[in-house]
Symmetry: C3
Subunit: 356 residues, 3 copies
């Protein structure tokens, strides 16, 4: 007597209703174990996340965990409800890092359906959700929009009214959140090893980060499970043998984290992520791929009320199996170069000169 009704098959396109609020399962307490694993999985060297005295010197009570660790954990909670039946993750926008996340904080995530558009083939549609993660004090720590293409289960289900949300091209400087207690007046380059400040980065400048990192099967499996992201295509090699790819796909968040870690060489003082403005996983990544990255400086913004720090809007491009300098153009008329795996527009916090 097999009873598959007990299995939550996840929402299909017709199940999403505009303005519906979905509370995701598995509230998650962040621990010192998560933070150590994140270092082991990415090699990040930013002292803000691994040195309590460094964080204290900047006015914080403790070292916050890496912004992307918090993001991946918060994001992972949305997968069973939002994207388990997704054909494709189409994009991110308006990702805001609102408040530092500390060891001991518990994150709970919910999503609101903010847009729906059935595809013209009638077989699938695009769902837009704004997700928010709050800590145990109900303070929002992260907020983001993503849109995914989801299959319909019942092809006869009526198409919903098309609503496409108005999304910003980037998070405006006035909306960037920097923790009030954080003061970069106590910042010393000795702790990061980086000599360059906000003023030193020029829009248009490109930095080829010199290191590469090869993804091992265990690395990405461990990370994706740590985030409790249960999308099957990352874990089930037997099932994936019969897919287009023939093997497990690497969760896109893994690539973002590797690129961010590699970008430390050249961006040592980019202490925190304030926003992700837009992101595209241009091509899939697999175990065995070696990831490289380069960064373009897009904009340099002052932050209202702050003379100790400014914001840099950056474009971080991830490339697999070839050095960034080898690729003349990452985009052609046909789309992305096949070795490009990530095109991420994001904003970081960086100390300004003369405060030290």
């Amino acid at each position: 007597m097999t009873n598959n009704q007990k299995i939550n098959a996840g929402r299909f396109f017709e199940h999403f209703k505009l303005n519906e609020v979905i509370q995701h399962a598995t509230p998650r307490t962040i621990t010192a174990g998560d933070a150590a694993l994140y270092i082991a999985l990415t090699g990040v060297r930013n002292p803000l996340h691994c040195s309590a005295p460094f964080a204290h010197a900047l006015g914080l009570d403790n070292a916050p965990v890496d912004d992307l660790l918090a993001f991946h954990i918060a994001f992972g909670k949305t997968v069973p409800d939002i994207s388990v039946n997704a054909v494709a993750n189409l994009g991110y926008a308006d990702v805001r890092f609102l408040r530092p996340v500390y060891v001991g904080d518990t994150l709970s995530t919910s999503s609101t359906v903010i847009g729906l558009k059935q595809n013209s083939n009638g077989k699938s549609g695009v769902v837009y959700v704004r997700s928010t993660s709050v800590n145990q004090n109900q303070q929002p720590v992260l907020s983001w929009v993503r849109w995914v293409m989801v299959h319909k289960k019942d092809l006869n289900a009526a198409a919903p009214e098309t609503v496409i949300p108005d999304l910003p091209a980037f998070v405006a400087p006035a909306q960037l959140c920097v923790a009030e207690q954080l003061s970069l007046k106590g910042f010393e380059t000795q702790a990061t090893g980086g000599q360059y400040f906000w003023e030193d980065y020029q829009p248009g400048e490109r930095i080829n980060h010199p290191s590469g990192m090869t993804i091992n099967d265990s690395d990405h499996s461990l990370a994706t499970r740590l985030y409790q992201n249960n999308a099957r295509l990352h874990f089930d090699a037997h099932m994936m043998q019969n897919s287009t790819f023939g093997k497990r796909l690497v969760y896109g968040g893994i690539v973002i984290s590797i690129c961010r870690s590699l970008s430390y060489e050249g961006l040592e003082n980019a202490l925190a992520i304030l926003a992700i403005n837009a992101g595209t996983h241009a091509n899939p990544s697999f175990a065995g791929d070696t990831i490289y990255s380069y960064t373009e400086v897009l904009e340099r913004w002052e932050i209202a009320g702050r003379t100790d720090a400014g914001a840099l809007r950056l474009r971080m491009v991830g490339i697999k199996n070839t050095a960034p300098a080898e690729i003349a153009a990452i985009k052609t008329a046909d789309g992305y170069h096949p070795n490009v795996v990530l095109d991420l527009d994001y904003t970081v916090l960086m100390p300004r000169k003369g405060n030290q």
Copy 2:
């Protein structure tokens, strides 16, 4: 001057004496690092083990660690003394989870020899031990029986009197331990994402869990080392090249943990393991295998003195490299189907309806 006397070669069959008590080495303090690694190794999403506020809402002082993490760590301590010369792990019985284990607890394990039977070939014998793990306050947290076949070293050693312990087919409902302070009156399905309660599961019902998880070499090595289980066949690929299998074997506990994690989809509210009644590793698993599982509901028991929770006795079957629905019969006249890797009879705690 090589001195191999310093090497503890472990006990052979003739070294085990009935009623002997063996105190195992390496008391082990459980940390937040262990708990995070367990999530990374298995992908478990049960909020009882990863959300402090969820545990508080149910009356506990903190989130206990996963039952199987505690079991594997406690069990690992017995390996150097009990099974390092084992030919085969023949079975488990009467595994009782007596008390939650928290970060900061230190587990110490001892075993008592409760049965001995020399094989008729005179070359090996079966040893039955009851092992108990206590915390730093000497409170028992886990107790279990296992039996293993162990080589004789001295074939001339006299056979011991045959004693076969009387083992229960399952841990009786009256003997199940639920933490007194735990109250499921505060349980909310929102935290687990599961809508089904104790009353909803019917004996005879079968649930095919939809996800699969491929075992990577590093995954099982990391886990088995975390448990400080030093059985060589899991680690030494050079030695195992010349074995029947030609490669490292995956520790059976890894398969139990993966199946338990996969079974979350369909058993979201099975909050805690109360007992393992019996278990068989039907076939070996290797790195590269993809594990699937299904669950049969065997019995539904009330728990004395509790209206907030009941117990379900379940049969969890682990299958490799094929979906559960593909296998008509897991057992034939010749024994287990070659893709079946686990047949585990265990008992879980589940909230009852109407308490929320």
Copy 3:
């Protein structure tokens, strides 16, 4: 507009100045997550590092982390400044473990250039540095000398005056540091499972440790990243395809840790490392290699002012893909046997008899 000036290319030979002090980046707070990962990566079973009650019984406030975990983390910080352009790590000397490192301690590392010698080819030179790691109270916890061969970037740069530091063949017994509060009067063999004391080990004695451990790609990548050691040859398989080796090299510290963990069988009571006297990575290791080890007892020293513990000077030899007993001579006229990967001279603390 690519700007590679932002990339810190690391020091070349001509950039090192005698007596220069280099403060390394990334102060690092040690956490329970690091300690758990170290167990998962190595399988260490020494109760001093994993049992708080065991540490308390010996007079310590808490369980210190494994000596080699602290060493690898402290060492990793020196890589970007000292060895990122190294042709070869030539050796270690005078490595002293000065003070236990606890969870919550933050390590900061600096190095002083104590020797320089340009090679006769004019293209590279040898740099000697003494590195010291201090905790958050500025107490030194580790100090060591290493020397590396580094390329010149500007072949016309003048050769520095040759200065070769006077290095001890071993750390003298009088200079070994044992934590004052540590008392082995409370030591019980039950916790380690080892029956042999300081008095039982004889100079000249050799112990073949029976277990082997196969290195997986993820294992060594995770560990090396945990230590924030960013030497590219451990991570970048794409780059290494074109190297002599054709693949990633395993960080030598991984091999030291595996050998130390394997040596537990036969040296169960070697509770702490007091010094590393000298070390050579005789041949490279790669993922897939199975590591074995044996130990020779070199010297047995009393420790001034202590009747509870003594020191043993040991030679730990790491061998890949063949059992130690299979190799007749690890060194021939041509150098090391190709299966020898480590030759380490180090000193451990061991309880003496009659104190218990």
